[in-house]
Amino acid sequence: MREIEIDAGSMVPRDLNRAVKQAAKEYDKIIIKNPNAMHYMVAGLTDEVEILIDGSAGYFAGTMIDGANIHITGNAGWFPADNMTAGEVIVDGAAGDGVGQGIYGGTVVVRRNVGSRTGEIMKNGTIIIGGNSGFMSGLFMMGGRIIVLGDISDDAGESIIRGAIYVMGDIKSLGKNAKIVEVDEEDKEELKKLLPAYGFDLEEEKYSKFRKIVPRSKRPFYGGKESEEG
């Protein structure tokens, strides 16, 4: 494997991203040292390359990536993996608001707590939160799945249209158009395949604790009955 280290300590985001895009053409793994919570790191990278951010990232880490695998060893700020289409963004620490905002595909993993509006307007893909997720998680979610191993705060699944939110902890309250259903065997099998692959090894009985938040209707703001198409 061809590896390269880039020291971000004295760089601005534009210079760093240029250096990363250049390196991605020649190397399989890029290690970013001294990231110091810089914003917009690895924005718009379309190469399928492995990136290690050795520390914390600021806002929009890995926004609009298409295939890269990004591992952040510290925390991430707001909107990590925003609008990604494919790849992985894995955060060892905590993250701010809007984790996985608008993603079309790929997987986002945050091992600790995250802020509000996790997975807002996501269209597809997977978001796994190892801790708690804040206010209005799944806001206007259009597809995909969010898995929260801790608690989920107020107005979970606010105006959710498609997709599902799996919650192992407490659900403080539901948003408009959201309802809770019990997980079935198919759901459990899906979670059992997915979670250990990202280092979340749960005891068998814990899979029964999950509840699933889904939309009441696909047309909550217009159309006919609540169950129409839903």
């Binding site: 914390s56 806002y59 707001w78 905590a94 802020g115 509000s116 206010f135």
Partner: protein, 305 residues
């Protein structure tokens, strides 16, 4: 956008908070290029009823003498200093003694009547430094690096609602009760609903800036007996709009965030330090930790010493 930061040393001893806040704000420079400011608490060492006035004076013959004349009619100037600023302005600083805090605001209003002169602030337990320009420029201009204190708040401003000048730089101060200052990132959309009852109580607004509204609101609550934590909690209920703001008092700092969580706020704390800011990068200027808490929508946090 704006960047906000606050730090408290829990041991109540003097620390180089000027230098620390400079680093915290420099890390937030990208959030606001227009102006920056500091409230550095605990290091002024003024005697009882002594105050420090920071007065913006245009470079014009005889203007500083006019200021001195007005001050001297109320109380003798004990110590003075002139700090050159930019755009043909100087900051005239003087130390004075008053019989009581109630004399401070009337004196400030008298000085403000002079054309091309405006009092930036008058304080007893903290030093306010604010100006236009970058954090580093202001830090060099006022030597913030040498300022000692127990706690501090600071701001980098991206102007949206009012003009860019030294006076509209944050922090804002209220004279309803001594030494309350606020730095703010956001907008208060029910501004007049908050301002009107405060004006009916006789509190004087100098600007239409919503940050001034917040500082009077908080100072009024504290004047009415609320603890800082209680004032912050009530403000989240009373105020509309997207906001995160940090309050500095003689005894501590606190942060409040709007109920929809539309402006950022993060916190890090250990046995020695309580630190809050818009972004993690600012917290890392004061402590080397990855244990960062997100301030939740509608949440307030405070630390008093």
């Amino acid at each position: 956008m704006c960047g906000i930061a606050g730090v408290v040393f829990k041991d109540r001893k003097l620390h180089p908070v000027g230098e620390i806040m400079t680093r915290m704000l420099d890390a937030l420079q990208h959030r606001g290029p227009d102006s920056a400011g500091f409230s550095i608490y605990g290091g002024l060492g003024l005697g009882e009823n002594e105050y420090l006035l920071n007065i913006e004076v245009k470079e014009k013959s005889g203007l500083i003498e006019q200021v001195k004349k007005i001050v001297n009619t109320v109380t003798p100037i004990e110590k003075e200093e002139i700090i050159p600023s930019v755009e043909n302005y100087n900051i005239y600083r003087c130390k004075i003694a008053l019989n009581s805090f109630d004399e401070l605001k009337p004196l400030i209003m008298d000085i403000d009547k002079i054309d091309d002169v405006i009092v930036l602030n008058g304080s007893h337990s903290f030093e306010m430094i604010k100006d236009v320009g970058s954090v580093k420029e202001i830090a060099d201009r006022y030597d913030t690096y040498s300022k000692m204190g127990t706690h501090a708040i600071g701001h980098t401003r991206f102007s949206t609602e009012s003009i860019v000048d030294r006076y509209h730089a944050h922090p804002f101060q209220s004279y309803i009760t001594p030494d309350i200052t606020v730095v703010h990132n956001g907008q208060i959309t029910n501004y007049w609903k908050i301002r009107d009852p405060l004006e009916r109580k006789g509190h004087i607004f100098e600007t239409n800036n919503d940050t001034e509204c917040i500082v009077h609101y908080i100072a009024n609550k504290i004047y009415e007996g609320y603890k800082l934590e209680e004032a912050l909690e009530q403000s989240i209920i009373d105020m509309d709009g997207p906001f995160s703001y940090i309050v500095g008092t003689p005894n501590g700092v606190g942060i409040a965030k709007d109920q929809l969580g539309l402006r950022p706020g993060v916190l890090a704390e250990n046995d020695e330090v309580f630190a809050i800011a818009s972004e993690e990068v600012s917290l890392r200027a004061v402590m080397d930790t990855h244990e960062i808490d997100q301030i939740s929508p509608g949440e307030s946090r405070a630390y008093t010493i």
